[in-house]
């Protein structure tokens, strides 16, 4: 690992002043950043440790639940309010990483984690995300883990988070602070598709700090399910994952939320499939229909062709679990 300077400011403003300088990065849990620094994917000259900031709170706010950026993944996943009011988030967090990593990883860091594309990690390979203009090793390469939605000819990497898939489904808002004050970014607008600039994972402006997320109250607690399909039963990134949340009136679906992980450069919200379920009864046929709608526009790249079948099957299965059919 390259040498770097280290500081630990005590206030958000001091952090924001510090991170405006080039070559400077924030460190919170470090589970992704330290790994990337060890591999030489990134080599910041200065690290700003934000663990002194008072951003660990999990508390009700008007119309929802606030979770601070420094709340640990393990703490959030077991928090009583989260388990009772937003069980989908708890399930998604527990599906991610390992207990040790969840004890270190923060909510803010989880949102900002980089792709696990092997070509991004291997500094001897081309990667437009790591080194813009160098090409994409995954297109035409080994792309088993890669995107089937929203990719570009520059990048087919996926966002690796489970937590973010749940936050996307639950219409969370990311609260950030920068030089010009605070702003609120709807979760759907936070991460971006690769387009011509795959080096940009999200729409966070330079010098902005994530303070936390707000999740609006909902009636999904009884009928939520996070289904993650991976190469082994635990401690692996998703091939495909589905966050499903339903509001039921007897057998009738009043409201639905669906999002997929492991399939795109950002958590992939399935709004058309959601709409197709409103007013319908809970049935495998209706779920399969929603899954087919969700798959419109999907494109595979060879090694990940199997995702074209795995994804709709996972959507159907997640809806079966969420609705109580399983």
């Amino acid at each position: 690992m390259r040498q770097f300077q280290y500081s630990r400011p005590a206030t958000p403003q001091a952090v924001i002043d510090a991170i405006n300088k080039p070559g400077t990065k924030i460190i919170a849990g470090g589970t992704n950043l330290v790994d990337l620094m060890k591999r030489g994917v990134t080599a910041p000259g200065k690290l700003i440790d934000i663990n002194q900031l008072p951003l660990k709170n999990i508390a009700p706010v008007k119309g929802g639940l606030h979770i601070g950026a420094l709340a640990l993944n393990s703490v959030v996943s077991e928090n009583k309010l989260v388990v009772e009011q937003q069980p989908l988030l708890s399930m998604a967090l527990k599906a991610g990483a390992s207990p040790q990593l969840r004890n270190m990883a923060t909510v803010g860091g989880n949102i900002l984690q980089r792709t696990r594309c092997a070509y991004f990690y291997d500094t001897t390979m081309p990667c437009n995300k790591r080194e813009p203009g160098s090409g994409c090793g995954a297109i035409g390469g080994y792309n088993r883990m890669h995107a089937i939605f929203g990719a570009s000819d520059k990048c087919i990497a996926v966002h690796p988070s489970d937590m973010c898939v749940a936050l996307a489904a639950l219409d969370a808002t990311v609260i950030v602070q920068g030089k010009k004050g605070t702003r609120r970014i709807p979760f759907a607008d936070f991460h971006r598709l690769p387009g011509d600039q795959p080096e940009l994972d999200n729409n966070l402006a330079a010098g902005e700090l994530i303070l936390g997320v707000d999740i609006p109250d909902n009636n999904f607690a009884k009928n939520s399910y996070y289904l993650k399909i991976r190469d082994r039963q635990s401690y692996a990134f998703a091939l495909v994952s589905v966050a499903a949340a339903l509001e039921l009136d007897g057998n009738i679906i009043k409201n639905a939320r669906l999002a997929m992980g492991g399939v795109a450069h950002k958590p992939w919200r399935l709004t058309d499939a959601e709409k197709s379920l409103i007013g319908k009864t809970i049935s495998i046929e209706n779920f399969q229909n929603a899954a087919q709608i969700a798959m419109q526009g999907a494109k595979a790249y060879g090694s990940n062709d199997f995702k074209l079948k795995l994804a709709p099957a996972t959507i159907t299965e997640a809806l079966k679990h969420a609705s109580g059919l399983v």
Partner: protein, 236 residues
């Protein structure tokens, strides 16, 4: 300049390999006399020598001489060291470390607590699992400076004198290992697994032990060991 930079790094690597003993520890086992001189040497000293260094850097033999005369140690001072105080297994340590030193390397190379193992060094295997303030973490992804002021427990801190921890006893009884390399991490994780309340069934144990990989495949025996300790109800 690349070759100069390369030399700087080589010097640092050499430094960390040679000076593996505890630095500025309150109760160091052996502290070389010149260590203090090194720590007290100033950046100005480095700058004085660095001009010379730049001149000789392309000549192999003077580099060797420079290294032998301790110049490389002064090069390390180019980068600021950070004071860190830690309590490891009940023993307090005052250290001065580079910010890039992980807790794993600090434990193994500076405190000579080599029970904690370096497996993948990338947070993928769990061999480096230790407890920070009672919570299990991957020490390979934890920077030493970030746990300053905290209490660390390693595998060396579980036993009470000659009396093994119940989990250590159970691993022996159930053959919870073959080669033993993952075992310190497995045991630290197993203790945490019970403390967290996640050892209530075989399925739950397997899920909450998934961050510790065993290449020998001793998983069934590891699960048996954890179940016995859990069911025995002994304090862990």
């Amino acid at each position: 300049m690349d070759r100069v930079a390369c030399f700087f790094r080589c010097g640092l690597i050499k430094f960390t390999q040679i000076k593996s003993g505890p630095m500025k520890s309150k109760n160091p086992p052996e502290e070389p006399a010149h260590e203090d001189n090194f720590l007290e040497s100033s950046r100005r000293d480095f700058l004085k020598h660095s001009g010379l260094l730049t001149a000789i850097v392309f000549t192999p033999s003077p580099i060797v001489k420079a290294a032998q005369s301790g110049l490389d140690e002064k090069i390390a001072d180019l980068y600021e060291k950070v004071p860190v105080s830690l309590e490891v297994n009940g023993v307090k340590h005052q250290l001065s470390i580079e910010p890039r030193v992980t807790l794993l390397d600090l434990l193994r190379e500076q405190l000579e607590l080599t029970g904690t193992k370096k497996g993948c060094d990338h947070g993928q295997c769990g061999a480096c699992t230790v407890h920070v303030e009672g919570h299990r973490v991957n020490s390979c992804l934890t920077l030493g400076v970030m746990v300053s002021g905290k209490k660390i427990t390693t595998i060396e801190g579980l036993a009470k004198g000659d009396q093994l921890h119940p989990m250590q006893e159970a691993f022996i009884k159930h053959d919870g290992f073959q080669c033993g390399y993952c075992t310190p991490g497995q045991i630290m994780s197993a203790v945490a697994c019970i403390r967290e309340g996640h050892a209530n069934s075989e399925q739950e144990i397997r899920e909450y032990m998934s961050g510790n990989i065993c290449r020998c495949g001793a998983y069934p025996n590891i699960v048996n060991a954890i179940q016995e300790v859990k069911e025995g109800g002994q304090p862990v």
